[in-house]
Amino acid sequence: MNLSNNPLLWVTFLPLAGALLVALLPDARRSWIRWTAMAAALATFAASLWLLAGFDPSSGQMQMVIQVPWLRVAGISIDFALGVDGITLLMVLLTAFLVPLAMLSAWSGVRERVKGFMILFLLLETGLIGVFLALDLVLFYIFWEFTLVPMYFLIGLWGYSRRIYAALKFFIFTMFGSLLMLLAIIFMGLQAGTFNYTDLLAQRELFAGAQLWLFFAFALAFAIKVPMFPLHTWLPDAHVEAPTAGSVILAGIMLKMGAYGFLRYNLPLFPEATLRAAPWLAGLAVVGILYGAATAFAQKDAKRLVAYSSVSHLGFVMLGIFALTQQSVAGGVLQMVNHGLSTGALFLVVGMLYERRHTRDMAAYGGIWKVVPVLGALMLAVVLSSAALPGTNGFVGEFTILLGSFGAPALGTPWFAGLATVGVILAAVYLLHLYERLFLGPLTHEENRQMPDLNLREVLILVPILVMVFWIGLYPQPFLDLINPSVETLLQSVLPAAVAMH
């Protein structure tokens, strides 16, 4: 096995190499630092495209698997194992796509300690990609926990006024969930004699007796990360206090770690527990959709509104996952990507407004459409995509999820999907409300008259995202082609357990 030819290694460790390189540059050379970091992020994106090129979309199995024994803890080996399937691939592409854009958004916003910022950002990227690619549970846990540290510092060092509180809350909430998961991982390793994902999957009946507990331990970790109602309270604080680039990564990618964890670990490893828990988790998802939407509507702070909209949107993803039909899960995966793009873009736009006026209070804006038409037009597209207007990515994702979960046998009743549909309407309400408060109506504040419109850099950040928004909205087939075989494989390993149960 020639490892240097494997794009998985490159895509995982290029950001780390970039971080080390940046660390060697002198502090004062800010533009060197910025460009080196950007080069590393773009190289990672290129590597992720290389990964896409080498990927066989017709198979739903793990591909390009790397498996190297790493160490043994008292007789149980821990592997350095990476692999990719359609779901993973999309997540990696999303990460590699968003990181350079987020970095670009910090180009002028972050002036102090640029070096530390870029190092942490690249470390974070390695951690995130590792979470998606890891095929050994201990390795997964290591990447999973490792992402906490750079994000903690991004919030704590470059965040806004309540940053220390938000950073600590973020760290401790996430750690609370993952520690129980660690116990579950050790338990499974002891039962099966391995931590390798593929081997554990093949021998899942060895720990089937405890699967309700194990499911719970994993689900807690992931539900906090998603976040699912009522474990979401860390999210508004972390999102609001984080710097824009941090919010983009937090919403765009880190929340997906939770949903991805459910898909990769909970569903196939504990199928019976999944089926039992499905209505409950789908119920929480629906509550999250409605609660998130209602709370978002009540916000005065634009960034907080976007944060709560995440709670609502991720509810759709979770509903899709736990409806457990081919269509709903595929829609859920697509919606993970969509949310990353749309909400990422929303945070970027709100960040751009903040850079101009240094407030996120919606009342400080109003009628600025005439002053900043380019920003207004781009934001309108972003808002509509987030509100799932037909023709945008959000529509495809949410529609597929709802369609797939209406008749889902795992849920047994169309009520879940029915109530979730109300969430689609509510999303339109709060998002258009946001847009209206910011851009429409008469210009209420004189100081906004001088607001500069977007510069080229800012347009360059938003345009790639919007291209993806409309691509997925108008022609989602290539994405669904990537998703479907993997989802099929996944559900094949879950559903036989359903037959056994009924």
Binding site: A74, F143, R163, I186
Partner: protein, 480 residues
């Protein structure tokens, strides 16, 4: 008595003889040249470390079965010598700065290290007591090394009184065990238990008293009351050394003793040790939450870590005994490295007259001294158990043992306690990086070397922990 008897405890002898040499040499050293004493001590410890690593000592019992040399004791010899070396590195610049550079510090430190090493070798209850006193008495004196400072005197007195008290427990326990089994030798005790001639009630009472006595040394709750005061009052370099090494010595004694008596008394003793573990984890971490002084914070942190280690001690009772001992040794090493590193930062930040020890004083320190700051961050993350640090593997290994032995409750308490600990360890990071302040730190080459070297060790060894795990796994006990 043959040459083999001496070879068996060669590292101990090297260290003790160096101690005597330093004491003599110190008399001839002029004021201001006391660094030579530090150098001599360092050389002696390096020789002891070399002897332990090269495994020169012959294995087996020696001195008529009073001491034993096996993988376990060799591992500990190496650990104590290494911790001692770092301890000298911590002390050298500090005492020069505090105008207290004296040779006897190093002599006493060496005697104490000798006692700790002997603890790992002890195979006889009287030997345990001898080792205990040899390691403790120099530490009582050293705690009061700042003769002019009230807190230091208080620390010494408190440590001495409670220490003497715990020695009493140990002695009484020894008497009880002797009464129950008519033997003070570990093999003899095992034999008496096996052939049924032992009085199990006396043995149980004796074992419980011994556990209490050594629980003082590892500062397990509720025998921890001395720890914060002594750690705060004693000179910082000594506290760093003490919190790493004394704990390991106490656990060495507990492991060997319990491994011997557990087969007979497991049912009775395991709940006691479990209770100690749970209490220590909970109380240590909870009280640490409200500390504002870095020395007290690290004192409670050291109590908390004793709690995690006690989980392993309970598991010594199970079929996973070998793994339990290996996990504890691994954890002790990981803790010692991170702990010494953290104390090197404390020593660097401490100002004259005991100022610079409040968390407030750490404001902005991490930004001003990025290397020191990043090192401290690594230590704190290792204490929490975040991956890519030795602390993570230590906890993984310990919790694995706990689950394997069916100690689910303790594992869950350990997890919850780790979560609580994240809050106070991160507070240190918050002060160092997220707040502005006027904190200053000493730039001493040895302190920087210890801080950065320990941080590098914590991270790099975490990438390839396999080797250390292997060494720890091989260092399991020769069960008599």
């Amino acid at each position: 008595m043959s040459i083999n008897d001496f070879l068996a405890i060669l590292p101990v002898l090297v260290v003790l003889v160096t101690g005597v040499l330093v004491m003599v040499a110190d008399v001839f050293l002029p004021e201001g040249r006391k660094g030579i004493a530090a150098l001599l001590s360092g050389l002696g410890l390096a020789a002891g470390l070399g002897a332990a690593l090269a495994a020169v000592p012959s294995t087996g019992t020696a001195f008529a079965g009073m001491v034993v040399a096996d993988g376990f004791s060799l591992f500990l010899d190496a650990l104590f010598a290494a911790v001692g070396l770092v301890g000298i590195g911590l002390a050298y610049d500090y005492f020069k700065r505090m105008r207290l550079q004296r040779g006897e510090y190093y002599t006493l430190l060496l005697f104490s290290i000798g006692g700790m090493m002997l603890m790992g070798h002890a195979n006889d209850l009287v030997m345990f007591f001898l080792a205990l006193e040899l390691l403790s008495i120099p530490l009582y004196i050293l705690s009061g090394f700042f003769r002019a400072r009230l807190a230091s005197q208080e620390a010494a007195l408190k440590y001495f009184l409670l220490g003497a008290f715990s020695s009493g427990f140990v002695l009484y326990g020894i008497a009880m065990v002797f009464g129950g089994t008519a033997s003070i030798n570990l093999e003899g005790i095992v034999a008496a238990v096996r052939d049924g001639s032992a009085n199990l009630t006396f043995l149980l009472v004796g074992a419980a008293l011994l556990v209490v006595g050594f629980a003082f040394k590892v500062s397990a709750v509720p025998f921890h009351a001395w720890t914060p005061d002594v750690y705060e009052g004693a000179p910082s370099p000594l506290t760093g050394f003490m919190s790493s090494a004394t704990k390991a010595a106490g656990f060495a004694a507990l492991i060997r003793l319990l491994l011997v008596v557990f087969p007979a008394l497991g049912e009775n003793l395991a709940p006691v040790v479990s209770g100690l573990a749970a209490l220590t984890m909970i109380a240590g971490n909870l009280i640490a939450l409200v500390q504002t002084n870095i020395k007290r914070l690290l004192a409670y942190s050291s109590i908390a870590h004793a709690g995690y280690l006690l989980i392993g001690l309970v598991a010594v009772n199970s079929s996973a005994a070998g793994d339990a001992v290996a996990a504890m040794l691994f954890y002790l090493v990981g803790y010692a490295i991170a702990n010494l590193g953290a104390w090197s930062v404390v020593v660097a930040a401490e100002q004259a007259e005991g100022r610079g020890l409040e968390l407030e004083d750490y404001s902005g320190l991490g930004r001003k001294y990025p290397w020191l700051g990043v090192a401290m961050l690594v230590f704190m993350l290792s204490f929490i158990g975040v991956p890519l640090t030795l602390g993570f593997w230590g906890k993984l290994y310990l919790f694995r043992v706990a689950l394997e032995s069916g100690l689910f409750g303790l594992a869950v308490i350990g997890i919850a306690a780790s979560l609580v600990s994240a809050y106070y360890y991160l507070r240190v990071v918050v002060y160092m990086f997220f707040r502005d302040g006027e904190g200053v730190a000493r730039r001493d080459v040895w302190l920087n070397l210890i801080a950065i070297g320990s941080a590098a060790a914590v991270v790099l060894m975490a990438l390839v922990p396999g080797d250390l795990l292997q060494v720890a796994a091989q260092a399991v006990l020769r069960v008599p």
